[in-house]
């Protein structure tokens, strides 16, 4: 956020040419991995993320089992070559926090009580990063959970809004994130309009926040449709409908 100054909006348009309320191009592929129980590849502009789901399977160590419901594990990880300066392999504080909030974004929709004592494991690998990787990861993970046949109340969809050159806009790219004034990722259960992740970074006036929240929720609704379409496509191809 806020490194130096750069003009992000010229003649009323974003540098990328996108409208203020326009998402980056999205590409979703379901079931891209063979070994995983469910998987999804998700592209959001220049972000490339892949999610795999394993489970429900036995929880190790048993010490961490929950007698009433499945425990969801979520690991967000960046490939060393996914960023400008090579990232040292292994978790850091940022990735640990993202893993935690992402897990909590998905927890509410998973019917965890059906699988006591087990673990449902979600692994997200960021292969290329361009701002918004946590939202791309959650979107991928949500579809991968469905692909794995994990019973869910609904999908979760995620996107960020931000503020650049004084304007509240949808889905910041890396340049907008680095030189912008605020970034606010959310995750939402589209059917119930409930927010399961909300973070904010930077500075927003109250009105901007409220406007941004609506804008992000709209973005989530669009992504939700794309997620559903990708699942339908996968399962209609496989000849067992959706």
């Amino acid at each position: 956020m806020k490194e130096g100054k750069i003009e992000l909006i010229k003649d009323g348009a974003r540098l990328s040419g996108r409208g203020f309320e326009e998402l980056r191009p999205i590409k979703i592929e379901v079931g891209v991995l063979k070994r995983a129980d469910g998987s999804c590849y998700f592209e959001l502009g220049d972000n490339k993320a892949i999610a795999a789901v394993y489970g429900p399977r036995e929880m190790h160590p048993r010490h961490f089992q929950n007698a009433k419901r499945a425990v969801v594990k979520y690991r967000y990880n960046m490939a060393p070559f996914s960023v400008d300066d090579r990232k040292r392999p292994g978790p850091d504080r940022r990735s640990q926090e993202i893993s935690m909030v992402s897990r909590k974004a998905l927890d509410p929709v998973i019917l965890r009580e059906l699988y006591p004592k087990t673990a449902i494991e979600v692994y997200v690998e960021v292969l290329q990063s361009d701002a918004g990787t946590r939202t791309a990861g959650i979107n991928a993970a949500s579809v991968a959970l469905a692909d794995a046949g994990i019973p869910m109340r609904d999908l979760v969809s995620s996107v960020a809004i931000g503020k650049i050159d004084g304007e509240v806009v949808l889905d910041l790219d890396a340049k907008e994130d680095n030189f912008g004034e605020a970034d606010m990722p959310i995750a939402m259960v589209a059917r119930t309009n409930t927010i399961t992740l909300l973070q904010m970074d930077g500075r927003l006036k109250k009105e901007e926040f409220e406007r941004g929240l609506k804008l992000a929720m709209n973005g989530c609704r669009k992504i939700y449709e794309l997620q559903k379409a990708a699942l339908v496509e996968k399962y209609s191809k496989n000849g067992n409908g959706a």
Binding site: M1, K2, E3, A67, K68, D85, R93, R94, Q96, E97, S99, M100, V101, K104, D107, P108, A182, M184, M188, V189, T192, N193, T194, I195, T196, L197, L198, Q199, M200, D201, G202, R203, L204, K205, K206, F209, E210, L213, K214, M217
Partner: protein, 260 residues
């Protein structure tokens, strides 16, 4: 097993109270517990503050030392925020490397200060690309009866005020205080069965389905948000929580923080 039962009983007790419009300590839903702020207890730190909110006690220390800037910001000082949930402070805390709760605590406090541009990091450059002042905010929990984040954030901003930069101690010439441009205050609003209440204690925290920490500034703007908890919140609820957060922050700022 036994513990889970006790946990459930405790939650039910909180639910009963809340549904009758009450809290165990008699507070209103929008009342903080008593807050005590004591400054400069630690003479080895450039700034330090003990914040007590009810039975929750946090000690925050700020150290300022010369160091190397990050390659991509060669003319800016460095801010590092760290939190230790030491096992002294709660039967639930364990020894070992920082877990996700302490990482979250540190990062939320850090973002509040960073997002509001509270510290003028550019004023902390000593020699571009070579040497800058590093500001370490260390959050040391002493007693956890809930709502650590509001206590820690208040301790952090209080500790940052009136810091003399220790030029002489490190053989450098110069004289300056840390430039502080805002006073972000964190207020955590818990949602328990549709009711909103601020400053949850530890029993309320475990009963809360959701919490939202709202960090807001002198001008009423928001410089940090963090939702935690295991269910969703509606837009209306979030907006209401944010309004409460901003309003309570204003009250706390007036009472415990100087004008900038």
């Amino acid at each position: 097993m036994g513990q889970e039962v006790i946990e459930d009983i405790r939650k039910d007790y909180v639910y009963d109270l809340i549904e009758n419009g009450k809290r165990a300590d008699g507070r209103g839903f929008l009342d903080f517990r008593d807050i005590v702020v004591e400054r400069d207890l630690i003479n080895k730190a450039e700034g330090s503050t003990r914040v007590q909110i009810g039975d929750t006690v946090v000690l925050v220390g700020v150290k300022v030392e010369p160091g190397t800037p990050f390659p991509d910001t060669p003319n800016k000082g460095v801010l590092m925020t760290n939190a230790e949930l030491v096992p002294l402070a709660s039967p639930e805390f364990e020894s070992g490397p920082p877990g996700e709760d302490s990482i979250e605590l540190a990062r939320v406090v850090d973002r509040g200060i960073r997002g509001s541009e509270t510290i003028d990091l550019e004023a902390l450059c000593i020699e571009e690309g070579e040497k800058v002042w590093m500001v370490f905010i260390d959050i040391h929990t002493l007693d956890n009866d809930g709502n650590l984040v509001d206590a820690a954030a208040l301790g952090a901003i209080t500790s940052l005020l009136n810091i003399d930069i220790p030029y002489e101690q490190y053989g450098l010439t110069g004289k300056d205080t840390l430039h502080i441009r805002d006073t972000p205050v964190a207020v955590t609003v818990a949602e328990i069965r549709g009711n909103l209440l601020v400053d949850p204690n530890v029993a309320e925290e475990s009963a809360a389905t959701n919490k939202l920490t709202v960090i807001s500034n002198v001008d009423g703007s928001i410089s940090g948000l963090q939702k935690s908890g295991s269910t969703g919140l509606t837009e209306e609820m979030i907006v209401k929580m944010t309004e409460i957060g901003i309003e309570k922050a204003r009250e706390i700022r007036e009472k415990y923080l100087p004008k900038i």
